[in-house]
């Protein structure tokens, strides 16, 4: 009899689920209807990237009344290649990938984050291990070089210019091995863990990791840093209604005035969003010109 009662109770409980798991949904239900699909570049570990952007997407979707879905892409270049095939409506682009997307797809940037120190830009940094003995490009000969991806400013454009500037126009022959880490975060880990001898990434990502792991600052040496590039900003495709675009832009820029928005910004790691225009990407274009890159024909695949 006891076993019978136990079985019934357990069946009921399994059907209902764990108490906490079955808590009622929050009052702010996400909007229904066709969602806006926003792509994310693998700036860091793709799971961390999703975790970082999810609260922002949820908040933004609720405020504009359109559900927002995120899609993280494995490579920077995929975002441009597959923008239309994936049905993306927009994306948080890196500075170089936006410049490419703008040139190829005509996307329009709306806003980008500004951090707690008031910085809305990042720098590319050339990294080596302090104990590697590498201090100049000459020391790098025959070593291993890692880029992040061809479509990144800090992880490809800047180190290429750095090498060019130091007389290395063909890294694949100057270095013993050249490969792509795919994310800025993995670039830091690979340099730190000695998987590559030379690397380059965004200083913002490196700083974030350094605050969590003291080895980063202690063991990694920055040989050079680029001019500031605009932080990853949200750009939408041409077909999006102007009113919606404006709504999204206004919501992002004004969310610092909303207590809830401030909490989301804090979790995201920003103080506010600022308006961004194509002119902010002039520095990227200038870097591209320095090595004679034609953005409209540039092959950004990591091959």
């Amino acid at each position: 009899m006891v076993r019978f009662v136990l079985a019934i109770l357990m069946s009921a409980a399994v059907a209902v689920g764990c108490t906490k798991a079955s808590d009622p949904s929050p009052p702010n239900m996400p909007p229904q209807g066709k969602p806006l699909l926003i792509g994310l570049v693998p700036e860091q570990n793709i799971f961390h990237q999703l975790e970082r952007y999810e609260p922002l997407a949820e908040y933004l979707g609720r405020k504009i009344g359109v559900r927002i879905e995120l899609q993280v892409l494995p490579f920077y270049g995929n975002l441009i290649d597959n923008f239309e095939s994936l049905g993306l409506d927009g994306a948080f682009f890196g500075s170089f990938s936006y410049a490419l997307a703008h040139a190829k797809l005509g996307l329009e940037v709306l806003a980008r984050p500004e951090d707690s120190t008031g910085e809305s830009t990042y720098h590319g940094v050339i990294l080596v291990r302090r104990d590697s003995g590498i201090r100049t490009v000459r020391d790098m000969k025959g070593k291993r070089l890692a880029f992040v991806a061809r479509a990144t400013a800090a992880g490809y454009l800047f180190p290429l210019i750095y090498l060019h500037g130091n007389g290395v126009s063909r890294p694949e022959t100057y270095f013993r091995e050249v490969y792509f880490t795919g994310t800025h975060e993995d670039m830091v880990w690979d340099v730190l863990n000695g998987k590559t001898d030379v690397g380059s990434c965004k200083n913002t990502v490196m700083d974030r990791l350094a605050s969590a792991d003291p080895r980063v600052a202690r063991e990694i040496l920055v040989l050079d840093r680029s001019s500031p590039f605009p932080e990853n900003g949200l750009a939408l495709k041409k077909g999006i209604e102007a009113s919606l675009k404006e709504k999204i832009k206004t919501t992002l820029i004004s969310m610092e005035e909303d207590p809830e928005g401030r909490k989301v910004l804090e979790r995201f790691g920003a103080r506010r969003f600022i308006e961004t225009t194509d002119s902010d990407y002039e520095i990227v274009l200038m870097y591209a010109r320095r090595i004679n890159l034609d953005l409209s024909t540039y092959k950004y695949s990591n091959k």
């Binding site: 006891v2 764990c18 490969y179 792509f180 993995d186």
Partner: protein, 485 residues
């Protein structure tokens, strides 16, 4: 008894309240145990679900770069699902040990996700890619082992908890049956105790009343408790009172008989005796009588006088004169009697040599209402008895005192003689009981009769130092028409 009943019923009610509380608590505990078991089952299911998910991600990883590889978004979605499932593990309350295990598992999951991310985003030579893939695979394997260990732990705990819960429930059930069975037993036990505690004293009381009815007035109800004890004491008092009344009645009957006898004797003996006495008196005047005859006749006359005194006493005892009450000072009466005795009354024997008289009279004693002549008669009788008890001399002590508590004037007359045998002490006030060769056995009986007529009492006892003491207690009584002496 009333208290016992109240206490018993309270205990009874308390017992049932206790049983009720125990039943409620048992049900609560059983429900709580079931709840815990359900939660453990949920945890087990959740962890198995997580394990399946991780295996799915591992499978995705293995199939990568093969014709059967799934899309990146599918892999990412599976990995996110895996992460969410592991997050649910933290939603329930856990012990520190389990929480520590979960945190370890979470750390491994983070490493696995990072390794997966690297596999997905990396673009390098095949050796490097394979190395990343191997790292991710090992991280996944490590995670699976961890989750497997946790599932095994949960299963073991579940089994242990289930067995323990079922064991406790069985024990609780047995205890409940025991308690339920003990209810009627307790009722029967209590009923038996109460019936016994009521019937036993009733039986004892019934037995006592039967014995009293049969005439055994010396029977007493043995010590009973509570209200039965009070009833027993009342019956004992009643028996004592009955016996006292009966003794009085007997004495009254004796008095009646003695009175009738005395009246008869007085009628039948007095006149012949008077004739004999006159005749003897006439005869004794004859001058021709020899001295021997004259002595014989004198002895006969003495015996006749003794018979007259006996008859007088007998009549006095059988039909005592009614007391003539007046307010008296007992000390004055004692002094008067002592003076009378010391001077040697006409019919009293002379004061023997060697008798010292001691008086200790309390001047503060209040006046009493009594017949002064009868009181004097009693005192004189007791003085004479005391003197007779001290043939070789001694101390005749008289003492008075006032007991304010009982409002009694007490007179004590003691001698320093040999005392009275304890065996006959109880009979000395009985009429016709005497230890004297020529006694009538009426002296003390008359004394008691007269004292009781004054509303008092008289008792005798031996002094520890020797001799006998007679105590007369005279309470305050109100007699209409009592006058100053």
């Amino acid at each position: 008894m009333k208290k016992k009943i109240i206490v018993g019923l309270s205990l009874y009610a308390f017992f049932f309240a206790l049983v009720g509380v125990y039943i409620i608590v048992s049900i609560e505990k059983a429900a709580s145990k079931f709840d815990n078991l359900i939660k453990l089952h949920q945890v087990e299911i959740l962890r198995e679900h997580l394990l399946l998910n991780i295996r799915g991600v591992q499978s995705d990883l293995t199939l990568r770069d093969t014709p059967y590889a799934r899309s990146i978004s599918h892999i990412v979605s599976n990995a996110i699902q895996m992460d969410k499932l592991s997050g649910r593990c933290f939603q329930c309350h856990h012990s520190e040990e389990v929480l520590s295990r979960l945190n370890r598992m979470r750390g491994k999951m983070e490493r696995y996700k990072h390794a997966l991310s690297r596999v997905i985003t990396y673009n390098a030579n095949p050796g490097r890619l394979q190395s990343e893939k191997d790292t991710a695979f090992r991280a996944g394997k490590d995670l699976i082992e961890d989750v497997n260990t946790m599932i095994a732990l949960t299963s073991r705990k579940l089994t242990e908890h289930t067995q323990a819960a079922l064991g406790r429930i069985a024990a609780t059930k047995n205890l409940l049956f025991l308690l339920l069975a003990s209810g009627p037993l307790l009722s029967a036990g209590l009923a038996y105790i109460y019936i016994r505690s009521m019937t036993e004293p009733v039986d004892i009381l019934l037995d006592a009343t039967r014995k009293l009815k049969a005439g055994d007035l010396d029977h007493r109800v043995p010590g009973l408790a509570d209200e039965f004890g009070e009833l027993g004491n009342s019956i004992n008092d009643m028996a004592g009172s009955l016996k006292e009344q009966m003794v009085k009645m007997r004495r009254t009957e004796q008095m009646v008989v003695a009175g009738e006898l005395a009246a008869g004797l007085a009628h039948e003996i007095k006149n012949p005796l008077a004739g004999i006495k006159v005749a003897m008196d006439v005869l004794s005047r004859e001058e021709a009588l020899s001295k021997e005859d004259r002595d014989v006749m004198a002895k006969v006359t003495d015996e006749i006088k003794r018979l007259e005194v006996l008859m007088k006493n007998f009549l006095n005892f059988a039909k005592p004169p009614k007391p003539r009450f007046a307010k008296v000072n007992v000390n004055d009466i004692i002094r008067g009697t002592m003076d009378f005795y010391s001077l040697g009354g006409a019919s009293l024997p002379g004061k023997p040599e060697g008798i010292d008289i001691s008086k200790d009279l309390d001047a503060r004693i209040p006046e009493r209402v009594a017949d002064p002549l009868q009181l004097q008669q009693v005192l004189l009788n007791l003085f004479l008895n005391a003197v007779e008890a001290m043939p070789g001399g001694g101390v005749l002590a008289v003492r008075t005192e006032y007991d304010a508590f009982s409002d009694c004037v007490r007179i004590e007359i003691s001698d320093s003689g040999k005392g009275i045998d304890e065996g006959i002490m109880g009979n000395i006030f009985q009429p016709f009981f005497t230890t004297k060769p020529k006694g009538t056995g009426l002296g003390l009986a008359i004394c008691r009769q007269l004292i009781e007529q004054q509303g008092g009492s008289i008792k005798a006892e031996n002094n520890p130092a020797g001799g006998t003491v007679f105590r007369i207690d005279l309470p305050a009584i109100r007699v209409p028409g009592a006058e100053e002496a």
